[in-house]
């Protein structure tokens, strides 16, 4: 009788936590969420719930805490979802630990949400305007719990591929879907797999490129942290398609949370038979090992990545042979990006026909962009290929903050280019970006407003490439450094008339002669900023002026005579007595003495100083 009662109690408890009959508090614990204090918020919820004995309550009163991955709108972290039985989940934004007791007391105990802290409509609009084929699970499931992935249909595609499809049928399906590499190259995934599958070898490798090193990109990180099983499932399907004998996931060392969650996911997948020996009793076996990068952007290049796995310096090599013929340890190797793999289960589950209806003629499916910079809604967005920049920046992104004007968007990071206002209504896909002088890259979209200097932006990206160059080939090693020297001179007011022509010529040479993609694309930001913002370069070189008032060396504080009211406030406040004038005379700033401390600008009530 006693044991019967005990069993009944245990069953009820399991049902409550398993079937959602109790309340669930999900806290965003992606890197952004943790940085905003997500760990402390999570712990506080656990503490408060325990103190009120809600964790051990029965039936609908029980409360559970759960972790989720990135919710995409990092600007509003810490984001917390509260789901009470019978009601729709409600999201709280910008939650701090001291808000927790009130949320528990009012929302969980008394069923009265704390309205002032709930997410605004703009939060929901941000998500509703997207199409989340890949990011659907991120922020919704606990990435450290395989059950939550499986409940959402996870590993069904793997079962279908291994048991109902041949390797060739899998490749055909991915080819028909039109999936292209999401790491930057945009190469047709099906074609790559087909080339590798044809190779006859005792060993074959499949590698996931998780070395997302470009500044401004964090979509791969969010998938690895928030939905690691999607990556694993896609990888195993790909491995089966090409006949791989072993898999590697190469993750940046700077992504420790992703490394940790992938280790957990691999362990859980093996325990359930989704990985390892005789997967799902299909006869196919695969082991996946994690390799951590060691801080070299160039290791995102596939041959350099393979050398790094071999324990060597990550210096790219010439091709042929292509990696699919002879790559890691000299064996046929297929390298694909994180987001590319995450697309595979969707294609197998929904079918190529359904998938290929999304996107444009040559660029199918969705793309995840990391939207950052001078935009209201910083975060991750997933939209069909072919979406316009205007929709991304203004509808989803919320536009430019502080009423500033849109100037350009940098797409593709250090390998990409900028697109000005005239491109706002152009659809984003692989081809249209290349025509415009930009590149999809890994999907970083940095928004620049009127205060961003495009010359300085080009300098920034070139500085990055020059530092990250592996040093093997002179066009890249020497070329990027020389170009950088020119750009630094220009931003410091020491530009020469011939600099523009020199930059254009060098860009062409470096692009043509560099050994690998890093060098070949390093000049892109310079080429595209010269193409669309030539006037800014000329202003820097000829007039020693930075139109965006950004380059510090070119700051010139001058009084606008028409606006000066002769109040002498600036004169009184100048710490170096660089301003002359009086109640009868308009103020005048002596540039020789001026130290650009900005005090006069701040003190002037009439906007008479620029």
């Amino acid at each position: 009788m006693v044991s019967g009662t005990k069993t009944k109690k245990t069953k009820t408890k399991a049902k409550s936590s398993g079937n959602g009959k109790g309340s669930v508090i999900s806290v965003c614990l992606g890197t952004g969420g943790i940085a905003a204090g997500g760990d402390k918020v999570f712990e506080k919820f656990q503490k408060v719930i325990k103190s009120k004995k809600l964790d051990t309550a029965t039936g609908k009163r029980v409360c559970k805490t759960a972790k989720t991955g990135c919710r995409s709108l990092c600007a509003r972290d810490v984001l917390v979802d509260v789901t009470v039985p019978g009601r729709q989940a409600l999201t709280y934004e910008r939650v701090t630990a001291d808000m927790v007791p009130q949320i528990v007391e009012e929302h969980l105990v008394n069923n009265t949400p704390v309205k002032k802290w709930l997410a605004k409509d703009s939060y929901y609009k941000f998500h509703e305007t997207q199409q989340k084929l890949i990011l659907g699970n991120c922020g919704a499931i606990d990435p450290e719990n395989i059950d939550e992935y499986v409940i959402k249909g996870g590993y069904k595609a793997l079962g279908k591929a291994l048991k109902k499809m041949t390797a060739k049928e899998v490749i055909d399906e991915v080819s028909k879907a039109g999936l292209r590499g999401r790491g930057g190259g945009g190469f047709e995934t099906g074609a790559k797999w087909e080339l590798c599958a044809k190779q006859d070898a005792d060993e074959k490798f499949i590698i996931c490129n998780g070395d997302e090193g470009g500044p401004g990109a964090f979509s791969d990180r969010s998938i690895m942290e928030g939905d690691p099983h999607a990556l694993l499932e896609g990888m195993v399907i790909g491995a089966y398609a090409i006949g791989a004998t072993k898999g590697y996931i190469y993750v940046r060392a700077e992504y420790p949370l992703a490394v940790e969650r992938l280790h957990i996911a691999i362990k859980q997948a093996k325990e359930r038979g989704f990985l390892g020996e005789n997967i799902l009793r299909s006869g196919y076996s695969l082991d996946i090992v994690i390799k951590e990068g060691a801080g070299a952007f160039v290791c995102g290049e596939s041959t350099a990545l393979q050398f790094s796995i071999e324990g060597k310096r990550g210096m790219p090599r010439t091709m042929p042979p292509q990696s699919v013929e002879a790559g890691l340890w000299g064996k046929p190797t297929c390298v694909n990006n994180v987001e590319t793999f995450a697309n595979v289960p969707v294609i197998i589950n929904r079918g190529a026909k359904w998938y290929s209806k999304i996107g444009t003629k040559k660029s199918k499916g969705t793309k995840i962009f990391s939207l950052t910079g001078n935009v209201k809604n910083d975060g991750l967005i997933e939209v069909p290929m072919g979406t316009t920049i205007r929709k991304i920046v203004f509808d989803i992104g919320g536009g430019i903050p502080k009423k500033k004007k849109f100037k350009a968007v940098q797409i593709g990071g250090p390998s990409g280019g900028c697109l000005p206002e005239s491109y706002l209504d152009k659809p984003i896909d692989y081809e249209s970006l290349l025509e415009a002088g930009a590149m999809m890259g890994s999907g970083s979209l940095v928004v620049a407003d009127e205060t961003t200097c495009m010359v300085d932006m080009a300098r920034f990206f070139l500085d990055f490439c020059a530092k990250e160059s592996c040093g093997k080939c002179p066009p890249c090693r020497v070329g990027t450094t020389l170009m950088l020297d020119i750009l630094i001179r220009i931003t410091q007011g020491e530009g020469k008339e011939e600099d523009l022509e020199t930059l254009e010529k060098m860009s062409d040479e470096i692009n043509t002669m560099s050994l690998c993609g890093l060098g070949q694309t390093a000049p892109n930001p310079v080429v595209s900023t010269i193409r669309y913002f030539r006037d800014e370069y000329i202003a820097h070189i000829r007039d020693k002026d930075c139109p965006a008032a950004s380059c510090v060396a070119l700051h010139k504080y001058t009084v606008i005579p028409d606006k000066c009211t002769k109040c002498t406030l600036c004169i009184k406040n100048c710490p170096v007595d660089a301003i002359s004038g009086s109640k009868d005379e308009v103020a005048f700033i002596d540039k020789e003495k001026c130290t650009e401390c900005n005090l006069c600008y701040e003190k002037c009530n009439f906007m008479a100083i620029k």
């Binding site: 990092c74 390799k291 951590e292 801080g295 324990g311 990391s370 950052t372 920034f460």
Partner: protein, 167 residues
């Protein structure tokens, strides 16, 4: 030559058995140099000559080959490091949100430049290209703690906090 060698010998005694254990773990694994060096650095704080000698013997690799790899990757450090590692992100999104002010704050407060360690070995300061947390730019990471949307003043408070807790 002998004088140069003497200068490179560390004053503290080092327990090389920790390195031996790591090498045991990776015995027989092809291409294990990078994870071996990563584990060794986690254990010792940086890659010291005496420890690299052990790696060279066990893996049967020349010192030049190992140093070639150690000097290629940013993650590896050949000099001692501070108790707290400050990484100021200089990625594009952080740059657009004026991250230079944060670097300037560190330089001013701690009196060290990038890739240097304070004399009391409390802090090492680095500038890193991109930490992938662009949604909360500008970002500074101290050890494993990520601090987002920082201003120079807030950073000053953060640094004080670490200094006090380690005092």
């Amino acid at each position: 030559m002998g004088k140069a060698k003497k200068q490179s010998v560390q004053v503290e005694t080092i327990d090389l058995s920790l390195a031996e254990k790591i090498l045991d773990k990776y015995r027989g694994e092809d291409g294990c140099l990078i994870p071996v060096l990563q584990n060794i650095q986690n254990e010792y704080g940086y890659l010291q000559e005496s420890v690299i000698n052990v790696v060279s013997e066990r893996l049967n690799m020349s010192l030049s080959e190992i140093m070639g790899v150690a000097s290629f990757y940013d993650q590896f450090h050949l000099k001692p490091r501070g108790k707290h590692i400050i990484k100021v992100c200089t990625g594009k999104a952080c740059h657009v949100k004026k991250a230079e002010g944060l670097s300037a704050k560190v330089i001013d407060r701690l009196k060290i430049n990038a890739n240097e360690t304070t004399e009391d070995r409390m802090f090492t300061f680095e500038e890193v290209p991109c930490l992938g947390a662009c949604g909360i730019a500008p970002v500074v990471v101290v050890d494993k703690d990520v601090h987002g949307t920082l201003s120079p003043d807030k950073l000053g408070d953060v640094l004080d906090g670490y200094a006090k807790s380690s005092a």
